[in-house]
């Protein structure tokens, strides 16, 4: 407690072991009674140096590290990196790869939003949501497991396609989700949307105006909650998103409640995209044919000399993209996830920069909570939807 010039404020450290900070975030709060006078987020407890690490790895060896940034949306991270390297190499993907990637990243968006709705509701007092949301997320993780053999760190997308072909019962499993999930989302909304306590805790809380939101560089549902229409899938379509029909939901009030409504609607729109991608899924190869860059099919490696040589060379030496730098942005569940890859003509990236949506969104936290009550801090942190693995990298 400090007492200076008749003004009494108290400094309170929230975190880094606070359950509602969703990881190891520390917020230094200066309180006057119950009002937050000043908030300073401290990050870096989870800094793993992924950007530095990537500089000493062959291009394809970076993919498993991208999973570990936003560990709730591994496929989105893979997609951003693979697209960036493919842009550098000027590779065109076969139709099946495009459809499978879109389908899986949209499922990832649903999984990430499910975790968000569960934990956010838990933070502000609705316990049962967590159990329901994780039940549905399990169905999506089952699909990850069927595809890649891993539930969470899938590393399923590769430069030039997919790691393996889609599994046999993929269609059935996804259709099951499409059948079950719309009703379940309705159930969640029945639990939350008109819930008196939930509305009291969220409406008008952590308000940010559209102008401020753009100035703070917010992206994703946090930006769209303020009514700014920016979704990378629509503004700069990548990976064939222009072929799919969906609506980008927009909020009006820029508060926690609007961000919640947007994420719920986004889950529905993602289901729409999944439906279209599943119905339109073409047959064909799951990897592009690019000798020297993309691994040849396994049966060729075992039967043809040239394929064996290429396989060996890619695994040991990698490939050398031309000199230059590219930036590829995708719409991850959290916002604009960008990869800036600079190549100096060797087989490792000269520099890989990740534009992390959580990091930039978190920097707007003081703007949202200063002058408000301490209890709103929890709701605000939840509504930004941060993953500390991505904030710190």
């Amino acid at each position: 407690m400090t007492e200076a010039a008749g003004k009494r404020t108290m400094t309170l450290n929230m975190g880094p072991q606070h359950p509602a900070t969703h990881g190891v975030l520390r917020v230094e709060l200066e309180l006057d009674g119950e009002t937050v006078v000043k908030a300073t987020p401290h990050i870096g407890y989870l800094h793993t140096g992924i950007e530095k690490n990537a500089e000493s790895k062959l291009y394809y060896k970076v993919i498993p590290m991208t999973d570990r940034m936003d560990y709730l949306a591994p496929m989105s991270n893979n997609l951003g990196y693979c697209l960036a390297v493919e842009k550098l190499l000027e590779l065109e993907m076969p139709e099946k790869v495009i459809y499978a990637r879109v389908l899986l990243t949209e499922l990832t968006r649903i999984a990430s939003h499910l975790v968000w709705v569960g934990t956010h509701a838990l933070d502000i007092g609705a316990m049962s949501m967590l159990l329901y949301a994780f039940r549905e997320r399990e169905m999506i993780l089952d699909i990850y497991e069927a595809c890649s053999g891993q539930r969470m760190m899938s590393t399923y997308f590769r430069i030039g396609g997919l790691a393996y072909d889609l599994p046999d019962d993929f269609d059935r499993k996804v259709r099951n989700i499409l059948k079950v999930l719309p009703d379940r989302i309705k159930d969640y909304e029945r639990l939350l949307t008109d819930n008196k306590i939930f509305r009291k805790r969220t409406i008008g809380v952590a308000y940010i105006s559209a102008e401020d939101a753009v100035n703070c560089g917010l992206t994703g549902p946090t930006l769209r909650g303020s009514g700014v229409n920016y979704d990378v899938r629509k503004t700069n379509p990548y990976c064939g998103y222009d072929k799919f029909q969906f609506v980008v939901p927009l909020g009006e009030n820029g508060d926690v409640y609007d961000r919640y409504l947007i994420r719920m609607e986004e889950m529905r729109q993602s289901l729409r995209i999944v439906q279209q991608a599943l119905d339109g899924m073409p047959a064909g190869p799951f990897r592009v044919h690019a000798p020297g860059i993309v691994l040849p099919p396994k049966e060729d490696v075992l039967s043809k000399m040239e394929s064996l040589i290429f396989h060996f060379k890619i695994i040991t030496e990698g490939f050398k993209p031309p000199k230059g730098a590219v930036y590829q942005a995708i719409e991850s569940p959290k916002g604009e996830l960008g990869y800036y890859i600079s190549s100096d003509g060797t087989n490792m990236p000269h520099r890989m920069r990740v534009r992390p949506p959580s990091f930039v969104n978190l920097s707007a936290l003081p703007k949202m909570i200063e002058g408000r009550l301490v209890a709103d801090v929890i709701a605000a942190i939840g509504s930004i939807d941060i993953v500390l693995g991505e904030v710190d990298r």
Partner: protein
């Protein structure tokens, strides 16, 4: 859009652009560092361009590379226009001796943390930044990890009995 931008630089800031680069459909301008703030300011408020969204600031180290002739460090500003849905890059080269550049925190709140991260990891000083301190690495860490001369596989021992004789570097 590319031509409009070229025209803008030619008329409003004729001395600012050193060279331009068009790679994989992405336009970037290498500019002199003195002009950075003014260019960003006029692009942000420009009624036609409206580059009101600073997506990212990142940095490169060109140590031991022929590119380093123009300056060892490169700071990249990633500007996006929500109105035109257009993205381009401003790149500034900084010398090894004086890696300093004007801060953009007066124009964009985003620049605050992004510049702190670049300072923390690459050691570039942003003049005019209100609170330029480390953000992701621990306070005890010396050096700037993303520089190419920062060792990759060696960790600075913080609590080691042989701190005065650190183990041999493995590069």
């Amino acid at each position: 859009m590319e031509d409009k931008l070229r025209e803008f630089f030619k008329t409003v800031f004729p001395d600012a652009v050193i060279r331009e680069d068009f790679f994989r459909n992405q336009l970037s301008f290498y500019i002199r560092k003195e002009y950075l703030f003014d260019i960003c300011k006029s692009l942000q408020k420009h009624p036609d361009f409206a580059f009101n969204f600073l997506s990212d600031i990142c940095s490169l180290d060109w140590l031991d590379n022929p590119e380093a002739a123009d300056g060892r460090f490169e700071v990249i500003y990633n500007l996006f226009s929500l109105k035109n849905r257009y993205r381009f890059f401003l790149k500034v080269r900084l010398s090894n001796e004086k890696p300093e550049i004007d801060s953009l925190t007066y124009l964009w709140h985003t620049a605050d943390w992004l510049e702190r991260e670049v300072y923390d990891l690459m050691g570039i000083i942003f003049i005019g930044h209100p609170d330029l301190q480390k953000i992701v690495t621990p306070d005890e860490l010396e050096g700037f990890p993303l520089r190419k001369d920062f060792p990759l596989t060696y960790e600075v021992p913080q609590f080691s009995y042989n701190k005065d004789e650190p183990p041999e570097l493995i590069l």
